[in-house]
Symmetry: C2
Subunit: 406 residues, 2 copies
């Protein structure tokens, strides 16, 4: 940590998407300098910092050269080469999250380790798609769980990709066409709802946890996040919230994360089971920018440069975030006036990304005293930004709240 | 407004200091692109946007070339060449604030126009330092106001510079050594306190006004700003607040400002009189970043690109801002951990400027339920960032709350 002397710490992001972008916006006021190793110049961070280097993060030489310019190395996304990161860590680079925590991005590894640590995970089995007995193993599992299974690629999936819900009879056909990482086989759970816990952890083990949020998924992609409920309408049962927070803190400890960690949980028959984790800032925490005393982006930076963490209480009784997803109707960067005219209190966050169907290009946050009103206002603002055709499409699909596995 | 089509509006700042920097940080999430014409590359904005052009804003050719790249031209500071701005405005460039509002930066012009509009201003007379009868005019004014006068250079002063408090007997000697703009002569008023009103105004005349804040000056420089008091301990008398808001709205109308305007007011015998105005975002509004539903920086941008304005209510019962002023003890960018360790709830804002004695290099904001506790916490965080020697110096000078004219 000698790069920074006299000018505040320098944090290097591998990847230049919206997560690095929102971290960069949180870093500047605190006197943290951000550098970015981006795959291309049109990633969102190039609008908010001049320190974007175009390079291939999987190239050990490029990554090492980048690491030499920073005090702390962190990630915009977890699709990074673990062996390169491990080499850097062994050479003394402050890699945060460390490789030990990054390994939990592998769903097979994660399920095995969490089960061993006594954490609540769904029943599961890990299979190699190419092994001779795989179809039989999955079939046996399916018969014990109502005749259907959820298959998850252990690596490389996101936003609903890499997840398949299949009848037992369709498994052999699927396997014949599948090439890729080992599969985690799980039951199709009857979900009450989905929630998420965000935890920040310093190298010392000090943690900060935000209030639990409810996440609403559409087509396997997070669409809406709800926080609040201490007074008036309740978002979450207090016992359930306490259990979710306990699981979140335990996951932070088991993974040894340094930085922010998101834990997505299924609520099944009133109890929580772990769906997924992300060893980084996360869509479920975007509402903390205005909605919490300390945003996930500021907190991540404070954790990885080893500064004391901030308080996490909500700034309003209820906070609702809604994603802005690209549609066929043009670019949200031409529609802010329309959104503000109907929802002047909306906090608009656009990511500097070209709008494409099903691509997250921004989000909107609304704070207030009434949950349903916050939801309506946030939806209205997001729909106005996304354009009408997307709004119509959303209305059609929105009642579908089956298990969606993001 | 054709530069931006498909990518959101482009706003050009003349000047690249902390006000442009904080605007740039507010612009990115809303999908507004910021460009900066800065005098040198070490101004604060170059850390937060790649679009910094180094050039002389007083050079009409450079300014016109810059203006051609943006949809709206605005300012980081009001020390700009009015005739060049007038030429641009005449050529159809959206200059915001317009030249009509910029003229009110001249204190002589401002006093005359405000008095004519029936706005509350101190008794005053404008003199030309070189005229034969100037000493006699000032002496006559002084005799009517207790034997002392406040002299203000009509142009070029800031942070207490360009303001002199003199006994009548010392005026001739002062005038002999003075060269510069005409002087505004005013009485030394017995101040109850100083307050400020921030107003944002769109081209249509639509305005938004924030709750009135109290400002605490030290050595002619704003040191602390207090907001809040609706419940519990009162910062401001409700009648006084209503009067201040009325004056703020009227000043916005009289000046024809487009963007944010700050009005600094003296409270004398329970009534407000106008001290100064600034046709831009202002130190007294920095606490709106976390302390208000819409920050002054976001609101300024919304006003100048002609988007609907946001709500301005406070986010907590009390909000306190304290400036971080450079001292002899090093750079605040090495001291964030110390500040967060004692005041984890502090919102730290550093400006990317080299620390020098008496230079504002950042500010700290604290929200809470108790005014005195917020003040103590904000002071502690600011002192820790500024370094101990500055903290000691502040303690010595802090009870001095005479008229300070910033």
């Amino acid at each position: 940590m000698t790069v920074s002397e006299g000018h505040g710490p320098v944090v290097g992001f591998v990847g230049g998407g919206q997560l690095a972008r929102m971290c960069a916006l949180a870093a500047a006021p605190m006197g943290i300098r951000v550098m970015v190793l981006a795959a291309s110049s049109d990633e969102g961070t190039s609008e908010v910092t001049p320190n974007v280097i175009i390079g291939d993060a999987d190239d050990p030489v490029a990554l090492r050269a980048f690491a030499e310019q920073v005090d702390v190395l962190t990630i915009d996304h977890e699709n990074v080469d673990h062996s390169t990161f491990a080499d850097l860590e062994a050479a003394g680079v402050a890699v945060r999250p460390g490789v030990g925590a990054l390994r939990f991005s592998d769903k097979a590894y994660q399920r095995v380790e969490f089960a061993a640590a006594g954490l609540p995970v769904p029943d599961f089995v890990v299979v190699d798609a190419g092994a001779a007995d795989t179809a039989a193993v999955i079939n046996e599992f399916a018969q014990r769980h109502g005749g259907r299974v959820v298959l998850k690629a252990s690596r490389g999936g996101y936003d609903g990709r890499g997840v398949w819900i299949l009848d037992a009879a369709d498994v052999p056909g699927f396997l014949a066409g599948y090439e890729g990482a080992p599969l985690v086989v799980e039951p199709l759970l009857p979900l009450d709802r989905e929630v998420a816990v965000l935890v920040a952890r310093r190298p010392s083990g000090e943690i900060a946890v935000w209030p639990v949020v409810e996440t609403v998924q559409v087509d396997g992609m997070c669409d809406e996040v709800l926080a609040g409920g201490n007074a008036g309408g309740t978002v979450l049962d207090p016992d359930l919230e306490a259990e979710a927070l306990r699981v979140g803190a335990k996951v932070a400890e088991v993974t040894g994360i340094v930085g922010v960690l998101a834990i997505e949980l299924f609520v099944v028959n009133g109890s929580v089971v772990i769906n997924e984790i992300a060893p980084r800032v996360h869509n479920s925490g975007h509402l903390t920018i205005e909605g919490s005393e300390t945003s996930q982006f500021e907190q991540h930076l404070r954790a990885i440069v080893d500064w004391p963490l901030g308080p996490t209480a909500l700034m309003a009784p209820f906070v609702v975030m809604r994603n802005v997803v690209g549609g066929a109707a043009g670019d949200p960067r031409d529609r802010q006036a329309a959104a503000f005219s109907m929802v002047p209190e909306a906090h608009i966050h656009l990511y500097g990304k070209t709008s494409r169907p099903a691509r997250k290009v921004g989000h909107v946050t609304v704070l207030g005293d009434d949950l349903e009103q916050c939801r309506e206002r946030a939806q209205l603002a997001a729909d106005l930004l996304a354009g009408d055709r997307f709004a119509d499409a959303m209305e059609d699909s929105h009642d579908n709240r089956e298990q969606s596995n993001e």
